[in-house]
């Protein structure tokens, strides 16, 4: 299995010179099996470029199909949806899978609201030319997608819940734990640790540098050290710091990585927009 990060930023897309090495796009991740089956996680602004790349293949001909997992519906995880070009080609089949937002509104109504006429000229999911199905996930369940098995669990994210994913394919496992803040960051929830058990790669929310976290406690995001504790206790083989703060320049992320690496034996890197990585 391969992974490619198309957007690694949290909250807000950042352009400019200070954000070129890690990238300024918001959350979007692509997983690819050895046989070429594809699974996407989240549709932040990174999904716009991903969509363009997909158009070069079967999606450009209206013959593509892909499932997309949504961790939650905060804007930085869905703002690329109206600009993901495979949606505009008739014949493509796109499944969007996510839990109902904790407000009680359904996933479908939430996405319809994003595309409501005052906010978007698309004026509703029904105007997307591709076949689009919105499927509600029940966190805690395990689902099978072509080429992938995905275990899901709900984790706390400030005033709401997000869904974390344990994705297994080709005998390898990636755990995606983004937009999470544990009640005690130094003693993460057992469900999260269990989801990352022996994972080949743990992608973890690292929105805050450890020294910034105290000012932002309760905002729903983790300091870099929370991912370290999860990785160590779970026996994860590698840790990718993810969902970087919009205020974190490339140099600041470099520093977070070196400070984090110094405190653990688990290999650590900061997720960056770029090429396919072997899991």
């Amino acid at each position: 299995m391969k992974i490619r990060f198309w957007g690694v930023r949290g909250s807000f897309a950042m352009s400019g010179r200070d954000f070129l090495r890690y990238g300024g796009n918001t959350s979007s991740v692509e997983l690819l099996t050895d046989a070429g089956q594809r699974l996407l996680i989240d549709l932040g602004t990174g999904a716009t470029e991903l969509g363009k790349q997909l158009m070069a293949g079967e999606f450009g001909k209206g013959q593509g199909s892909v499932p997309i997992l949504l961790s939650h519906t905060h804007l930085d995880h869905i703002q690329g949806l109206p600009f993901f070009t495979p949606f505009f080609i008739k014949g493509n089949e796109i499944r969007i899978l996510g839990a109902s937002p904790s407000s009680g509104m359904s996933l479908e109504s939430t996405l319809q609201n994003q595309l409501a006429p005052h906010y978007s000229p698309l004026n509703g999911l029904e105007n997307l030319a591709a076949g689009v199905s919105i499927e509600t996930l029940t966190p805690g369940s395990t689902i099978t997608l072509p080429g992938f098995e995905v275990r899901t669990v709900a984790v706390p994210h400030g005033s709401m819940w997000t869904t974390a994913f344990r994705v297994t394919a080709d005998g390898k496992t990636v755990t995606y734990l983004s937009d999470v803040e544990y009640p005690n960051v130094d003693d993460p929830l057992a469900e999260a640790i269990d989801l990352a058990r022996d994972a080949d790669l743990l992608v973890h929310d690292a929105m805050h540098a450890d020294h910034d976290y105290d000012l932002r406690r309760g905002w729903g995001h983790s300091p870099a050290r929370a991912g370290v504790v999860v990785a160590e206790r779970a026996g994860a083989k590698k840790l990718a710091l993810f969902h970087h703060s919009p205020d974190a320049t490339d140099d600041m992320i470099d520093e977070v990585v070196s400070r984090t690496a110094a405190r653990t034996a688990v290999p650590v890197f900061a997720a960056a927009e770029g090429s396919y990585l072997d899991v």
């Binding site: 010179r17 070129l20 990238g23 602004t45 939430t110 005052h118 000229p121 698309l122 105007n127 400030g158």
Partner: protein, 304 residues
């Protein structure tokens, strides 16, 4: 008066090496009078950096005025990231056209619904107030006289003429030209045949725009598309530099600023567009500049 561009991009923010010089953030312009009063036009992602600057400058909580052309995401998604909103005592007045909804507060507040954003606008420390605008009905914000102008965009949008300090500039974005497509309150899969009434409505809209621009020094105009792109997507609600230049020449404005750049137009392409239209504008007596993030332009003849 001067204006500063905080976001010049259309549709969505575009990080990366290709947008380093012109900028990747979406629509947001700050107008500042010589006495230091400010009006913000559009609340795209450029508004985040503007808010941080205003907060650094302020010695006390401020009253901010935000004119919205319309409420498509690329024109409003900076609002929840406007840091003065999180300061007690701040007042934020929003002026917008009411489209496809019953109530402005509901639409603007809706961008921070629980599903979309962790903090509701109604819950932030700043006090918000909402004013509905009507094309052609002008009003005052401090020393600024503001005139909303009807534009041609899906579900409606308005431009603004702002007069202050004896000169004027206008913000004309987002808009399609006024010949092929008339945008109404429904989704367009493609261009629809125009009725005679549609043609009359388009003609009247163009005429009213040109009239409002007469006497304006600088016009900031939606020039999202190249001519080729427009030919493919005439129903998307955006214009080209040629269409903007035609309107500006008709109104005899001094200066046109290209704005709302397509996400796919990287810095090198923008350089070519800038050079091409600087030359073309000179041919019809209009100075054509191309906006970039951080650009500040003095407005008025004394500024040249």
């Amino acid at each position: 008066m001067q204006i500063t561009f905080w976001g010049v991009r259309g549709s969505y923010p575009v990080p990366g090496a290709a947008t380093v010089r012109y900028g990747g953030q979406t629509s947001c312009v700050e107008a500042r009078s010589t006495s230091g009063e400010t009006v913000i036009v559009d609340a795209g992602t450029g508004m985040r950096a503007l808010g941080n600057k205003l907060l650094r400058e302020a010695t006390a909580p401020q009253h901010h005025h935000v004119l919205l052309s319309h409420v498509h995401w690329d024109h409003i998604q900076g609002l929840p990231f406007f840091s003065p909103a999180y300061i007690q005592g701040t007042k934020i007045s929003i002026y917008a056209l009411l489209t496809a909804a019953d109530e402005l507060q509901q639409v603007i507040g809706g961008i921070t619904r629980h599903e979309f954003f962790p903090m509701a606008l109604e819950a932030v420390p700043a006090a918000f107030e909402y004013h509905e605008v009507e094309p052609g009905v002008d009003f005052e914000i401090g020393g600024f006289r503001v005139t909303p102008i009807a534009l041609n965009h899906p579900f409606g949008s308005v431009g603004y003429r702002l007069d202050c300090d004896g000169s004027a500039w206008a913000y004309v974005s987002d808009t399609a030209p006024f010949d092929q497509v008339l945008h109404k309150q429904h989704f367009l899969k493609g261009p629809e045949p125009l009725s005679e009434d549609d043609r009359i409505a388009l003609g009247a809209m163009r005429e009213a725009l040109v009239q409002r621009l007469v006497g304006v020094d600088t016009v900031v105009y939606d020039t999202h598309f190249t001519e080729d792109e427009y030919a493919r997507f005439p129903h998307y609600g955006h214009s080209t530099p040629d269409q903007a230049l035609e309107i500006c020449a008709a109104a005899k404005v001094r200066r046109l600023v290209l704005y709302h750049h397509a996400p796919s137009h990287g810095d090198e392409q923008m350089d070519k567009i800038a050079a091409e239209y600087l030359a073309k504008g000179a041919g019809v007596g209009v100075e054509v500049l191309t906006s970039f993030e951080g650009m500040t332009l003095p407005i008025g003849p004394e500024a040249t």
